[in-house]
Amino acid sequence: MGKKLGKWSLWVGVAAFFALPLTSWAQLTVEDLHKTLDTTQAHVGNLTGHAKDGAAAYRRYCVGCHGELGDGNGENAEWMEPPLFPKPRNFQLGVFKCRSTPSGTLPLDSDLYDSIGRGFDRSMMPPWNTLTNQEKVDLVAWVKHFSPRWAGEKPGDAIKIPDEPAVTPERIKAGREVFAKVQCWKCHGVTGQANGPSASTLTDDLGRPIAPFNFTEGARPKCGSTDRDIYRIFMTGLDGTPMPSYADIIKPDEGWNLVFYLRTLMSQKSVEKEMAKKLDLKPVDPNAPPPAAQ
């Protein structure tokens, strides 16, 4: 018996010896990722970023969360507990929330550039606006070199955002209708407090818990806080999250109405908020029949 066990152990040992290197083939290594290092570029305005020039800044500022392999598994990632602190982005997937391009497409270089400078509220990603513009565009190139998507795909075209109309009480009321029609309240709640009936069940594409944006707590929306940014967010959706694109459902003009209504939910002072107060605008009624059926 003992002899047999010894023989088996020997064979298992030999097999393991040869099999171990094979397992590493299945894993992406730094060398694999750096194959496109010399060729990956980014272009923002007049600036051209080179991936290899972004390496030093990445290692100084980013690697602790996003990891050497850009897979979002830096040594600090495990201490971030979603939904309170979202996990760092996995750049290898080439999926990004903040884009000016349609859902499912790659972002523009300028989208990544803006994200680096703006940071993401309610996460551990601060605004890196102290970096030089060149450092940021080099970092964009570095981020791109992690994902094979950029080798085979082109970024989508930026969505068209019509000029912002003047805000009126009628538009705010119409925006409330849009809020009800597309059921924003299911996640964001009827008052925008991120307490809709689906809020607690939301997960991102990787199965991690995720919280909808709370309009009332005074925070900046993740992908920018101007009216155009907010318009862009619901028209492009936030890829990788349950927030879809509403470009097929909300007409451009309705989009602006929704922006105006969303402003009334936010804690910051605004013209829209003043108008809503005068209108004595009530939150949407989740039990009301859909506007189209009225």
Partner: protein
């Protein structure tokens, strides 16, 4: 003879090869170690960022770290308030630096002669005294962070090398008042808004561990209140742009050099003003130019009781000022040069030794014991005192140049040169170069690891400090010699 030459040659070759091997080994350890540098404890545990995100090399801040500090130790990610943290989190860091130390200076040493078994001092001569030994450069307990969103604090009890504790920094700060980064108010004892921070200096020796430009006082001058490197008591307004490219600050300070207990002037204040603008210079990096002004007055007459100055009674304020330019120049990702200039001026009263008759140094120094003018205590400007006819305002100019080569956030090489030149002595006829300083520092710090729980640096530094006319008196000429102090320091600098 031939044998001994061969032996010598063999010895030299052996020594050279073993030294070379050791050098190569050390260099390869230093250069090959590429383990990641993580954030340091107090804020790293909170935010998870690597130390290199905020520090050029710990503890010196980079631009992002400066912005983090200017925001009140906040990332501005809407998660800065402690309510978002695990309840077990407490923002504290201990820092301690055990070292081996070599100190060499020239002293006037008594010469003995022994006659019939009896030794007597027959004279003296200037000799070099060199001491070596293991030492400790101090212990700091850093605790700081936010009490709530936009309410921050810092408390730093610190010991000197003797183990005596004092509070280096204690302040509360209201950040982003009215939602504006241009309105931040700080109250307490704090470091002045010096871009090249002495409290985050990368060197540790006695003369190299401070910036001479921040503390220079002409020989005989008793004004200790204009030291911009010392933490001061006061109220600071600070404002900055969102990206921190533009920064301004104004502080109202008590002229007490950070002493507690209102022991000095009854009513003497000074102000510190600083401003700077940074520019994006493409691949070179961000360049910053700025200025600072410290101006105010301090007491020269302490009312007395039985001839002894009464603490807190200082009046008859006289003026002083310090002003200069600051530059932070980056040449790519690895090299930077920091420059601080200073023009200083004190009232002639300070120049003649009037000033702080109560304490000789408010920042860890000894309290003056005895009547004014005795035991080295500053003199008191009692009623009826007049200045000598040859007295005038002492003025001086100085500059600090500090260069860094940052091989990686874990390995930084430091070189510094400082000069201080008195442009007008306090008394006509005094040697024009009395008290001039030249100070040289080189060193490197290597962090084999820095995790978000602890950091460790090998610290190596050499400093040469020269001051004209403040060395021991030459017995042959009866004139003071130049002071030269050299210091070598090897040690660990760790925190957890």
């Amino acid at each position: 003879m031939w044998v001994s030459r061969r032996w010598l040659l063999r010895k030299v070759v052996r020594f050279s090869s073993s030294s070379a091997a050791l050098f190569v080994l050390l260099l390869s350890i230093i250069l090959s170690a590429s383990r990641p540098a993580n954030a340091l404890p107090a804020f790293a545990r909170k935010y998870g960022l690597r130390c290199s995100a905020c520090h050029e090399s710990w503890p010196m801040l980079n631009y992002f770290g400066q912005k983090f500090k200017d925001n009140g130790y906040q990332l501005m990610n809407d998660r800065d308030s402690p309510v978002w943290q695990n309840p077990s989190y407490w923002p504290v860091t201990f820092r301690i630096t055990p070292i081996w130390h070599r100190l060499s200076t020239n002293e006037n040493v008594d010469v003995y002669s022994t006659v019939n078994g009896v030794s007597t001092v027959t004279g003296n001569s200037i000799q070099r005294i060199t001491s070596t030994g293991f030492d400790l450069s101090g212990l700091d307990f850093h605790t700081g962070g936010t009490l709530n969103k936009n309410v921050s604090f810092y408390v730093l009890p610190s010991s000197d090398p003797t183990g005596a504790f004092h509070f280096e920094q204690v302040f509360g700060r209201l950040d982003n008042v009215l939602g504006s980064s241009w309105l931040n108010i700080k109250l307490g004892r704090f470091e002045l808004d010096n871009l090249l921070s002495e409290k985050r200096i990368l060197t540790l020796t006695g003369n190299g561990g401070v910036y001479q430009t921040y503390h220079f006082i002409p020989v005989g001058d008793a004004n200790i209140f204009g030291q911009i490197g010392d933490n001061q008591f006061g109220l600071e307004y600070m404002g900055h742009s969102a990206d921190d490219r533009t920064r301004i600050s104004a502080s109202l300070l008590s002229s007490n050099d950070g002493n507690v207990g209102l022991t000095l002037g009854a009513n003497s204040y000074n102000g510190f003003f600083a401003g700077s603008q940074a520019f994006d210079a493409g691949k070179l990096g961000v360049q910053r130019l700025g200025f600072y002004v410290m101006a105010g007055e301090a007491a020269t007459y302490y009312r007395t009781s039985g001839g002894i100055p009464i603490p807190g009674s200082g009046i008859d304020n006289k003026g002083f000022s310090r002003e200069g330019f600051v530059g932070q120049f980056y040449l790519g990702q690895h090299f930077d040069l920091q420059v601080v200039t200073q023009h200083g001026s004190d009232s002639a009263w300070f120049g003649q030794g009037y000033g702080n008759a109560v304490a000789t140094d408010g920042n860890g120094g000894t309290t003056c014991v005895g009547n004014p003018g005795t035991n080295g205590c500053p003199v008191d400007n009692t009623p009826g005192t007049t200045l000598p006819s040859n007295a005038r305002n002492p003025t001086w100019n100085g500059a600090t140049f500090e260069a860094h080569y940052v091989y990686s956030p874990q390995l930084i090489f430091i070189g510094r040169y400082e000069f201080e030149r008195v442009s007008q002595q306090a008394t006509v006829g005094t040697a024009s170069n009395l008290g001039n300083i030249d100070n040289y520092v080189i060193g490197f710090r290597y962090n084999p690891f820095m995790t978000s729980r602890a950091g460790w640096a090998y610290h190596n530094e050499f400093n040469v400090f020269k001051q004209t006319g403040t060395g021991p008196v030459n017995p042959a000429t009866g004139l003071p010699t130049n002071l030269t102090v050299s210091e070598l320091l090897l040690g660990f600098d760790f925190d957890f």
